[in-house]
């Protein structure tokens, strides 16, 4: 659906933020979430934050700022959603929040320093982040985008970033 409405929407909304587990595709999520904050309330890790005004029409929807507070994949939030904006997720492995991506210029391992913090932080040990022959981290298709690696990375500003599903 293109036209003035779509243009206004793109103007009012920025890049998609990282969403909680089970979240629908960004546009459907923003349309269906009634901003009741129940997911944020049941999150034991205070990882779900209501989006601010800079998100435009998506203000009030829950987002994860992984560097500050990543998702621990406890999966308490999807069942508490009254609208189905967060669909039920069977297991942590099935979560699709996004995918981590290594920023080589910042990564210690890429500069020859021994570091495997991201590998150790990963809840999907030996699946989501592997090492290449030079011991540098490689993110695989199994990554669910929880952001634990981004949270723990010792590099300034984090050398591994979760790119939200649907983001650039």
């Amino acid at each position: 659906m293109d036209g003035p409405a779509a243009w206004l929407r793109s103007l009012l909304r920025g890049e998609p933020p990282l969403r909680p587990p089970g979240a629908l595709e960004e546009r459907a999520f923003v349309a269906r979430c009634i901003r009741c904050d129940r997911c944020a309330e049941v999150c034991p890790y205070h990882a779900l934050r209501p989006a601010g005004a800079r998100r435009g029409l998506a203000a009030g929807t829950p987002e994860v700022v992984a560097r500050d507070a990543p998702c621990w994949l406890c999966l308490r939030c999807p069942p508490t959603c009254p609208t189905g904006a967060l669909a039920p997720v069977a297991a942590a492995r099935d979560v699709r929040m996004g995918r981590a991506s290594v920023i080589r210029e910042r990564c210690y391992a890429h500069q020859g320093i021994v570091c495997r913090t991201c590998l150790d932080a990963c809840p999907l040990q030996g699946e989501a982040i592997l090492q290449d022959e030079e011991l540098r981290p490689v993110v695989t298709e199994r990554c669910v985008g929880c952001g634990l690696c981004e949270h723990r990375c010792p590099a300034e500003g984090s050398a591994i970033r979760v790119v939200a599903r649907g983001g650039a």
């Binding site: 206004l8 923003v30 904050d37 129940r38 309330e41 205070h46 029409l57 609208t83």
Partner: protein, 267 residues
């Protein structure tokens, strides 16, 4: 002025406000939420205007949303907008502000008439914009949601709630400087929905003309927080079943304990 009904209502409002301030500290899956959607045990209570705007924005009708709205709609049909007058912390706040600024000043005659239609128009506009913009504005902008989301955002979200707090401040400014109780009376989508749900059989003060002994400016009319004359009230007016008029009626011509609009009495 504080009669029986008013005391009960005040107590209910205080308890509701305390519950919503305390909820984020509970943070249990069986007891969580705001006035947009509350979960108690396995029961979902979803505010219908917000739910409807989400349905219009997303073009989907989720079963959970439908089921969650049903108890609230039933409550609205039976008890009227008690959501506004007995529960909503924003309403409580708004009443306090109005008392401060009005100092007992009475409403102009037929104060309600001026906002009856604009209020429904505002609700329709908000619902229409929700569909157009793809975001449930009736939930996003509703004062009851904003005021109950504030503690959740600050405690559970660990953020300074600029957006929610800013909107609330703007709304408070409107309540202080704009027409009296403008948000509750005319702009709140949740309140408009609660008012639209009122029927003839909905709980309301009942008037017995043969027991009325007051002259032109009766205490009931002066005491109504919306400026409605309960002697000529209709189920389509802005009565929120607060029962303030019943408390002020000296001869007992108004009752909160009988069927609302008996045959032949509708205005």
């Amino acid at each position: 002025m504080a009669g029986r009904w008013s005391r009960w209502r005040r107590a209910t409002q205080v308890i509701a406000a305390l519950v919503y301030v305390g909820l984020p500290f509970v943070g249990e899956p069986w007891l969580a939420g705001s006035l947009a959607a509350l979960r108690v045990g396995r029961v979902d209570l979803v505010e219908p205007a917000g739910a409807l705007s989400a349905v219009l924005a997303s073009g989907a009708i989720p079963r959970a949303l439908l089921l969650g709205s049903l108890p609230v709609v039933a409550l609205g049909l039976l008890l009227g907008p008690v959501y506004c007058s007995w529960i909503c912390p924003w309403g409580f706040l708004s009443e306090g502000i109005d008392r401060l600024r009005a100092r007992g000043a009475r409403w102009p005659d037929r104060a309600w008439e001026a906002v009856r239609r604009p209020r429904v128009v505002a609700l329709v506009l908000v619902l229409f914009s929700s569909a157009l913009l793809g975001a449930p504005l009736a939930a996003l902008l509703a004062p009851p949601r904003l005021v109950t989301a504030l503690p959740v955002e600050a405690w559970s979200g660990r953020v300074v709630p600029w957006f929610t707090g800013g909107l609330l401040l703007a709304f408070l400014g409107l309540e202080l400087l704009g027409p009296r109780r403008l948000l509750c009376r005319a702009l709140c989508p949740a309140g408009a929905m609660a008012a639209v749900l009122r029927r003839r059989f909905t709980w309301s003060p009942r008037f017995f003309a043969n027991q009325c002994r007051c002259p032109d400016a009766p205490a009931c009319h002066q005491g109504c927080p919306w400026g409605i004359d309960p002697r000529v009230a209709s189920f389509r007016d802005g009565c929120t079943s607060c029962m303030a008029c019943v408390d002020r009626c000296p001869p007992g011509a108004l009752s909160g304990r009988s069927r609302a609009y008996p045959r032949g009495l509708q205005a």
